[in-house]
């Protein structure tokens, strides 16, 4: 891992790392009017492919790709490729082409049971000069030679890190799944805490990965989240738990809950879309996350519940990790320590699918300051 900034959980990074840029200075220097951040409001109709692209006026945005891979030798691996876009309003009038009006952050990790921990790397750059950009017309975001791009209903992800690399093609098999109210996803009791949010579940993966110089052909199934917002987390929130699960029958399940400082649920939500396209949306009362076995990180001494029971309406799922140690330690940069990893899904003691689980705020409460 290099000295560059943060390996980051999707929100941890957004909220911890970028607070100085978004909150602190922006508040002092912000000019009213054109530089104000647009609010996320219900009733907006997502339009594709426009909304596959970037929304630079909004404060924060990410494309979050997670999934399972199987090598030719039948080895099971998890992976994530994430691009964040952050709008910084500090010195918004600086005409320099280097002015960091938009920051791009990328993070990539491979969960490898044989290694026992993650392969990971990250990059952070200011957008500009065509070297790091996020396009507004369709999904096309890159930092130097790291890129995520959509064309012809397929995504392509390319990452070359110091000791591993990943080159994947991810074909859509289903239309985008709109979360919350047609893509308006509330994140807390206050209606201002919300995002526009859609998912691309059941992506069919093919490609290759390289670990420590050794190349493998891989195939698998993946999940892409695309979310943009200007005010994400409730002020009383300490962290959150999130899952995105590709079920074997072709259905897709997304669920999250925002935790308060005492560990209680502040807010929750979920979407379950059947193989035939029937969508069920769940509110706070219908989503129940129940922690199970805990794993304690030998590096940070933080303890994470790595197995879970998830109740969604009438259905109940059991989650168990591909490997326990899928911890990301970003204390050197963003200050966040979090767990983000591949999980197996069981329903009534029977394997029904695979997905990704994210746990944040277990070391100390995340705060907006």
């Amino acid at each position: 891992m290099r000295t560059s900034p943060p390996p980051a959980a999707r929100l941890a990074l957004a909220l911890c790392t970028l607070c100085p840029a978004l909150g602190g200075f922006a508040a002092q220097e912000q000019r009213a009017g054109d530089s104000a951040l647009p609010a996320v409001v219900p009733g907006y109709t997502l339009q594709f492919p426009r909304d596959f692209g970037s929304h630079p006026q909004f404060g924060i945005e990410w494309w979050y790709l997670t999934g399972w891979l199987t090598t030719a030798r039948q080895q099971q691996l998890g992976f994530q490729v994430t691009f964040f876009r952050i709008r910084s309003r500090l010195d918004a009038s600086n005409p320099s082409a280097f002015a960091p009006h938009q920051l791009l952050i990328a993070h990539c990790a491979i969960s490898d049971p044989q290694r026992g921990r993650l392969w990971q790397d990250q990059r952070i750059r200011r957008a500009g000069f065509g070297l790091a950009e996020a396009q507004s017309t369709d999904t096309k975001v890159w930092i130097d030679d790291w890129r995520l791009e959509r064309s012809d209903d397929a995504y392509s992800a390319q990452v070359t890190a110091a000791d591993f690399a990943l080159s994947l093609s991810l074909a859509s098999t289903q239309p985008p799944m709109l979360n919350g109210q047609a893509g308006y996803s509330r994140k807390g009791p206050d209606t201002a805490s919300a995002s526009y949010y859609y998912s691309q579940p059941q992506l069919r993966v093919s490609g290759s990965i390289v670990r420590a110089g050794r190349s493998d052909t891989v195939s698998g199934v993946a999940w892409l989240d695309h979310e943009w917002s200007s005010e994400y987390l409730d002020r009383n929130a300490a962290g959150w738990d999130w899952v995105g699960l590709n079920l074997d029958d072709g259905s897709a399940l997304m669920a999250f809950r925002i935790r308060g400082r005492q560990g209680q649920s502040l807010w929750a939500g979920g979407t379950l879309r059947g193989a035939l396209g029937d969508v069920q949306t769940f509110g706070p009362a219908q989503v129940l996350f129940t922690p199970g076995r805990r794993w304690r990180s030998p590096r940070t001494a933080v303890s994470y519940p790595v197995t879970w029971s998830l109740r969604l309406g009438e259905r109940e799922f059991e989650l168990s990790p591909l490997l326990d140690d899928q911890e990301n330690d970003a204390r050197q940069s963003s200050g966040a320590i979090y767990w983000e990893g591949a999980v197996r899904v069981q329903e009534r003691a029977r394997g029904v699918g695979r997905g990704y689980l994210e746990l944040t705020g277990y070391d100390h409460p995340l705060s907006l300051r």
């Binding site: 290099r2 000295t3 560059s4 900034p5 970028l18 100085p20 840029a21 200075f25 220097e29 910084s88 500090l90 010195d91 600086n94 005409p95 320099s96 082409a97 280097f98 002015a99 960091p100 990059r123 952070i124 750059r125 200011r126 000069f129 065509g130 070297l131 130097d144 050197q332 940069s333 200050g335």
Partner: protein, 844 residues
């Protein structure tokens, strides 16, 4: 000492001799030890200070180079920023870091601060050690006025986190905010870090960069890529290796440092002569004791080793003392003067004294070895003497007369003459120094023969005392020569240094007067890249009622070759017509510049380093294109050792579109007062106290003061050489006096009064030292020619006119003659006083 018996014998003899020596002559031993200590201290101290400075330089350069494989640099004005994405996309490049490296003008401090604007995200991969501490706070740098200071900068500017730092950009004041300071480890020198976007905006360089660091993918051929870049980069932009980049900083002052090192070596050599004279005289004086030892069965070889051991012991003691003194003085120098030895205006305070065993051992070995070298011939001579003869004979020719003279001496002088014509080696005038060494050695070898013939030719005066003195000298030129050698060496070097420094100062002064013809000089801060007067401000200044004439200059830096330091480009309002009047040309200006050609005047350094002569075509990268200029003359420049070129400002503006000016000269109308004009200028610019407005006479005074400060160390070295020389005089005189006690008795017996004997001694002292002075003056004059025309020119690339400081040389000569007469007198009194003899035995 191969046989154990031999070793034992030598050891016993050494013990006997040394004990006797210490018991009987503690003062003399102390004096010799102290002389060696002085030489070693000087060398050690200079070496340590240099080492600290160079390691500071190197660490600073390494921090900024980081892990880069290629550094692409332009002039301060730089190049278009689109070069950055172009380079970042090259196939072999894995990381590129865009930078803006500027000397930022600090108002009211008459100085500038080196500020590097960079992208912390990209720099993290290339300059990890520098960026390590920024890490988390990278985004705090984004504010347009945020700056992080290195510890040295914070200390020099006396600023802390949260303080404001006023700067000058263009003709306006701006303010930066210190958001943090780095630790001393991150960067040892004065530096400010800004975000690249903030730097471009706040420092007035939108769209420009002047440095891009590249890291290459594994397996990429850096040399091949550099060659390719050399073809494709815009004019004036060069691709450097990390070694070239690191060498740049050290190169700038290397000549100065080598010179000081050489001076220390000279002091040490003088010390060696002192050991030599002490030992040969003491051998002479103790020949009875030595003969006794030999007749008691001490072998020749054992005696030689014992005497050599004596020299070694004194050398070792002196060296140890010297290392201690040297370390002490080095830490004082670093603390009070900084690593530049007083050679820079803004003193550096970041360097720490690091005592490494290597240099200390070298100092010890050098001091001891040189002392042993000095003791070698006398030991050889004493051992060779037959014991019976040594016991009996009261007079014997000492060592010096056994040195080969004649042909070897002439050969050395001829070698010196040839060496003086050789070019510098790697920018250092090594051949010149060797020429001086050969000249000194050859001249010393000639001393006995010359002395014999000169003293033999001295006429009789009729004065008993003087004639006896001459007769005495004629009888014992050998003894006299020994004392003379060390005096001649130190005095001639003293003379040479005095002439060189004086010549330099005189030339510098005349040059200043020539270059500062106006009444008032105006600038924002010397050497800064950001402070400049806008075209509008220039119009307003020129139109001020008290101004008869205003000249504006734009001074920037150019890069003509990647492996050479930057060249100063001076765009002046007057460049061709009247150039001879306003520029200190060393040759006549070319009267006719070919039609259509733009004239340029190159400094001597540019001529020496690049070979441009009058009439040649000089191609200058200006405004992103290569532009030819006709070299219309060569001028003398004492400011830019890397070279400078003067062109017409109209040509500069046409090429770059840059109408700003960094310096101005004003001639006032007859009725306008200086003070009133100054106030008018300040009021017109609205920059308040941040302007450096100075009347030409004061500027000249200030420059000369800086000159003297830069040569303060040279003066100190001179003083030390004088001390060593005088110690040599004292030691020689006392030895001679003691050795001649019997003779004094005889003269008294023959009827000479005590007063007459003393007068005779004083006469001897005066004659000898007068000879030494004359010889030293001649030798020193020749050495000064090498210093002025070879070493100075090759080190700094500028010429100076020879000027002799008659008064100072006269005073030095008088002091030396008086001192030697006095010591001769004093030691004669001591030698003739029975009580004194009993009291101090044979000491002094």
């Amino acid at each position: 000492m191969s046989a154990p018996g031999g070793a034992r014998g030598a050891w016993a003899a050494w013990r006997t001799l040394t004990r006797a020596q210490l018991r009987e002559q503690p003062l003399r031993v102390l004096a010799t030890v102290f002389a060696i200590a002085l030489g070693v201290a000087l060398g050690t101290s200079v070496y340590l200070v240099n080492g600290a400075a160079l390691s500071e330089f190197d660490l600073a350069a390494r921090r900024l180079v980081g892990d880069s494989d290629i550094i692409v640099r332009g002039s301060a004005d730089g190049f278009d920023e689109t070069l950055f994405p172009a380079l970042a996309r090259l196939a072999g490049v894995s990381a590129a870091s865009p930078m803006l490296e500027l000397e930022v003008a600090l108002p009211a401090r008459h100085a500038s601060l080196k500020v590097v604007g960079l992208d912390p995200f990209r720099a993290a991969a290339l300059q990890p050690a520098l960026m390590a501490q920024i890490g988390n706070d990278a985004r705090a740098l984004f504010a347009h006025d945020a700056i992080i200071l290195s510890r040295t900068a914070a200390e020099q500017l006396q600023l802390r986190r949260g303080d404001l730092l006023p700067i000058v950009v263009g003709g306006d004041l701006a303010t930066l905010r210190v958001i943090d300071t780095l630790s001393g480890d991150a960067y040892p020198e004065a530096l400010g870090l800004m975000d690249i976007a903030a730097a471009q905006w706040t420092l007035g360089r939108l769209g420009r960069l002047n440095r891009i660091d590249l890291r290459l993918r594994p397996g990429t051929d850096a040399q091949a890529l550099r060659t390719e870049l050399a073809r494709s980069l815009p004019a004036g932009v060069v691709a450097l290796t990390p070694a070239m980049e690191r060498g740049r900083a050290a190169n700038a002052t290397r000549a100065y440092r080598v010179n000081i090192n050489m001076l220390a070596l000279v002091a040490l050599l003088t010390g060696a002569f002192l050991v030599f004279s002490t030992q040969s005289l003491s051998v002479l004086r103790r020949r009875t004791a030595l003969g006794l030892l030999r007749s008691l069965g001490v072998t020749r070889r054992e005696l030689r080793h014992a005497l050599l051991g004596e020299g070694l012991a004194m050398g070792a003691a002196g060296s140890m003392l010297g290392v201690l003194l040297g370390a002490l003085s080095a830490s004082l120098v670093l603390h009070y003067l900084g690593t530049d030895l007083g050679n820079r205006q803004l003193a550096g305070m970041g360097a720490a004294l690091v005592l490494r065993p290597g240099p200390i051992i070298v100092s010890l070995l050098l001091g001891t070895g040189i002392a042993a070298l000095g003791a070698w011939l006398p030991a050889l001579e004493a051992a060779r003497r037959a014991p019976a003869l040594a016991l009996k004979s009261a007079d014997a020719e000492p060592v010096m007369s056994q040195l080969p003279a004649g042909r070897p001496a002439l050969a050395l002088l001829a070698t010196a003459a040839m060496l003086a014509w050789l070019p510098p080696l790697g920018g250092v005038p090594l051949a010149g120094y060797l020429a001086i060494a050969a000249l000194l050695a050859g001249s010393i070898l000639l001393v006995p023969a010359l002395l014999r013939s000169v003293i033999g030719a001295l006429p009789r005066t009729g004065s008993v005392e003087l004639d006896t003195a001459v007769a005495q000298l004629q009888g014992g030129t050998g003894v006299a020569t020994v004392g003379l050698a060390s005096i001649i060496v130190s005095f001639s070097l003293m003379v040479a240094m005095a002439i060189m420094v004086h010549s330099f100062r005189q030339s510098f002064d005349r040059w200043l007067i020539r270059l500062l013809p106006a009444d008032i000089e105006l600038r924002i801060s010397t050497g800064s890249d950001t402070g400049a007067f806008t075209a509008d401000q220039q119009r307003r200044l020129a139109a001020l009622p008290g101004v008869a004439r205003a000249d504006f200059r734009r001074v920037t830096q150019l890069r003509l070759r990647p492996d050479r330091p930057p060249v100063a480009l001076i765009a002046r309002d007057v460049a061709n017509a009247g150039a001879a009047d306003t520029l200190p040309l060393v040759s006549d200006a070319r009267a006719s510049v070919p039609s259509g050609a733009q004239p340029a005047f190159v400094s001597e350094a540019l001529q020496d380093l690049y070979g441009y002569r009058s009439g040649a075509t000089l191609v200058i990268p200006l405004g992103g294109a290569l532009r030819p200029f006709y070299v219309a003359g060569v001028w003398r420049d004492y400011v830019h050792p890397g070279g400078a070129v003067v062109i017409a400002r109209s040509a500069y503006v046409a090429a770059t579109g840059d109408r700003s000016a960094s310096e101005a000269s004003f001639w006032r109308r007859p009725q306008a007062g200086l003070g009133a004009l100054e106030s008018a200028i300040r009021a017109s610019l609205g920059l308040g106290d941040s302007l450096d407005i100075i009347a030409s006479p004061q500027l000249r005074e200030r420059s000369l003061m800086l000159f003297d400060r830069a040569f303060a160390l040279t003066y100190a070295l001179e003083a030390i050489a004088v001390v060593i020389g005088l110690v040599g005089v004292a030691v020689a005189a006392s030895s001679t006096a003691l050795a001649r006690r019997a003779q004094f008795g005889m003269l008294r017996h023959l009827g000479m009064l005590r007063r007459q004997v003393l007068a005779m001694l004083a006469g001897e002292g005066v004659i000898m030292s007068a000879l030494a002075v004359v010889y030293g003056l001649l030798l020193g004059a020749v050495v000064s020619l090498i210093l002025v025309y070879v070493i100075n020119r090759q080190s700094f690339g500028w010429s100076i006119d020879l000027a002799v400081p008659w008064r100072r040389l006269g005073a030095l000569s008088a002091v030396l003659i008086a001192a030697s007469a006095f010591t001769a007198l004093w030691s004669g009194r001591a030698a003739m006083s029975q009580e004194a003899i009993r009291a101090v035995r044979e000491d002094w």
